[in-house]
Symmetry: C2
């Protein structure tokens, strides 16, 4: 039971304080005073929707577009699910194709179509099945995927580049096989970094190459930044900008961190694509682009700028890189460490050679850290063995150190 | 351009004041101070989602359930579209059937599935077509539908009851025809009162009878109260409760007025149905049921109680009934007046006998009222000839009189 939240801390009903390594939604910090003030002020001024034009909408769209060169149109929605559903509609209307390719273990949202595009759901007990219009490409995971790198090569740039090529070619195969079956691809969807699937970064070159393949078959490249956008990765505003500066998606979806807890999301694309949406009825969304949501997003973007959160996230990422790799040296149960900025995964294994996932250890660690160290961590991935770190961006150097130290000491106590 | 909004009034950038007859979302009044205060307070306390339990969620669910006897489970989402999509998933998982019956001209939302269930969209230029799993029943419209009443019988209770039977039998025919084609009905969806379709009230007996037919074929009865709930109809909390006290739907969806402008919606059903949702992965929605959304909904329900808004809406409905019928006597261009509480439609015609819709007059009236009288009205329905009145519930007796007088004087000036 959370009774209060402030920046990177949560408090239970007894006032006990917890360090929050989980809440990527509260992006610039739980209840950040500037964001609360901006939302509250707009709530008391007007909540009228887009039937009534407001300059908040245009201001917000302009701020977003500054971060996404090559794109020029923003459509607002309420949730990442709505944004991904709208991205599918845009791609279908523009290409006049129907099908989507998604990556294995991907999660794109909880409405019917986005569930149908989420192997994370339909492969794991959901009542929805993979429909014929959805094709699944292998996950670009050099640690657990179809094409793996040796332990000593996991950070080798040349080997990673080769892996990017191999995994992109697998997408090409999926496209060709689909076309042989008379299907046509409207879009390739992928999270910029895969989150629920286990904190996986696409190898360098992968996204750009996939975009070439998909476009050459008449489809669009859709990047889901719902979990990963707004500076979480440190050096760039968006995770898909990490490896190639000249890679420009056709559609980018964004959500969670955008409103710091206020429900708002968006689809960003080009006018050329947006103009073909929906036939003559177009698009209307009751709350989409309402001035309160836009005030929330604007103030989040302002705080990111004022507090230099990209720089900060980048620095915290460097600390995590260093300290987690040190941790790995001392604990054989850590098979892989991967991440960037304030987005990290710790892959727990029973055996470094076989890479057998250790779900039980992940769950024990989470419980012990919460009870004994007041640190909140979570696990995800298809085997629920990957510890996820994706805290509010105000997470500081002491928090990094405390988290890694707590992991170190707890693993020692457990003789792991 | 709206620069400020307060209760039933909007102000443009020059400070000019408008009477708002349109905004059903800002249900208890634009920027109602109590709702603003409740949301702002919670925003500064915690926005943590349902992964962290909050008593706001349980309090809010309990308050909603008090108004819906026979139902016991609430699932929270962000928008009416998400709620209707979830209702479809619930019905499909529970019945193990796939298809939906909707009413002609219905509108259930802007995500892919709900667009596919909205003849308002797919019959009017949308790029989405009616899929094979969607069946359309005739609209229960005694003025413009397949089964019409004579002008003098439009308010005759016996004739209306007969119409309810006739229209319900049409749904039965749709079910039987679908089954002959090997299809199975998961749910019948209808708005409790049809809004975008032209402010249409189902005739007495219709909903209950349709529910019997649908259930006897293994389907569920889903009532969409997104536009009509939370006391808008005056004598009852929900519009579907208007004619039969003992009619209990299987699923009720709600949205717009629920948060007074804050994005929140819900699906209410029974535990028996909810327990079968989603297979082993269940349901998760990032913002659904977050404590800010719940605080918004709770404070809306409190204001409804404290300010006796059901009583008030009922009384304003009686005034509208009286004054609009008087207006109709003086203007032949008004073919039909229909509504209840603060939900009214004025059906404009070129000829009372042929009932030919007069879209042009509707558009002219809206423009003149805005420019010359500072009153905001809207038109809807398949012919865009029906003036819609669905203001915030604080709309008072003077506002009713001013609106009707403005219509009267403007129509006189136009020699209509």
């Amino acid at each position: 039971m959370v009774s209060q939240a402030s920046m990177q801390y949560l408090y239970d009903e007894n006032g006990k304080k917890y360090l929050d390594c989980i809440s990527n939604v509260q992006h610039v910090g739980h209840c950040h005073p500037k964001v609360v003030a901006a939302i509250s002020k707009q709530l008391a001024t007007s909540t009228c929707n887009v039937r009534f034009v407001s300059h908040k909408l245009t201001d917000c769209a302009e701020e977003i577009l500054k971060t996404l060169p090559g794109l020029d149109t923003v459509l607002f929605c309420n949730s990442g699910s709505e944004a991904n559903d709208l991205a599918l509609r845009l791609a279908r209307d523009y290409t006049q194709h129907k099908d989507a390719i998604v990556v294995d273990h991907a999660y794109h949202g909880h409405v019917t179509t986005t569930m149908e595009m989420s192997p994370y759901k339909f492969d794991h007990g959901s009542s929805l099945r993979q429909p014929e219009w959805v094709h699944v490409a292998p996950i670009f995971d050099v640690y657990r995927g179809k094409y793996r790198l040796a332990n000593e090569d996991l950070n080798n740039p040349e080997k990673l580049e080769k892996a990017g090529q191999v995994y992109a070619d697998m997408v090409k195969d999926v496209i060709e096989k689909a076309e042989q079956n008379g299907r046509k691809i409207a879009a390739f969807f992928t999270e910029a970094l895969q989150s629920c699937g286990g904190q996986i970064l696409p190898p360098p070159g992968y996204l750009k190459l996939v975009a070439e393949y998909v476009r050459s078959h008449g489809g669009l490249m859709v990047i889901d930044e719902v979990q990963t956008g707004f500076g979480r990765v440190g050096s760039k505003y968006w995770a898909h900008q990490l490896s190639e500066d000249d890679f420009i998606p056709d559609i980018v979806t964004m959500g969670k961190p955008m409103g710091n807890g206020f429900p708002v999301s968006a689809v960003v694309t080009t006018k050329k694509i947006a103009d073909r949406l929906g036939g003559s009825v177009g698009y209307f969304n009751t709350y989409g682009g309402n001035p309160v949501a836009c005030s929330a997003a604007l103030s989040v973007m302002n705080v990111i700028k004022e507090e230099n959160l990209l720089d900060h996230s980048q620095k915290m990422g460097e600390l995590f890189h260093e300290q987690l790799n040190e941790l790995k040296k001392n604990h054989d149960c850590i098979g892989d460490i991967r991440g960037v900025g304030l987005f990290w995964g710790i892959d727990l294994v029973k055996d470094r050679e076989t890479r057998e996932p250790d779900q039980e250890l992940a769950l024990q660690l989470i419980l012990k850290l919460r009870k004994e160290r007041s640190i909140l961590l979570n696990a995800d991935g298809p085997h629920t063995n990957i510890l996820k770190i994706k805290p509010p961006l105000c997470f500081n150097a002491d928090d990094v150190k405390n988290t890694v130290t707590a992991l170190d000491e707890t693993l020692k106590e457990m003789n792991k």
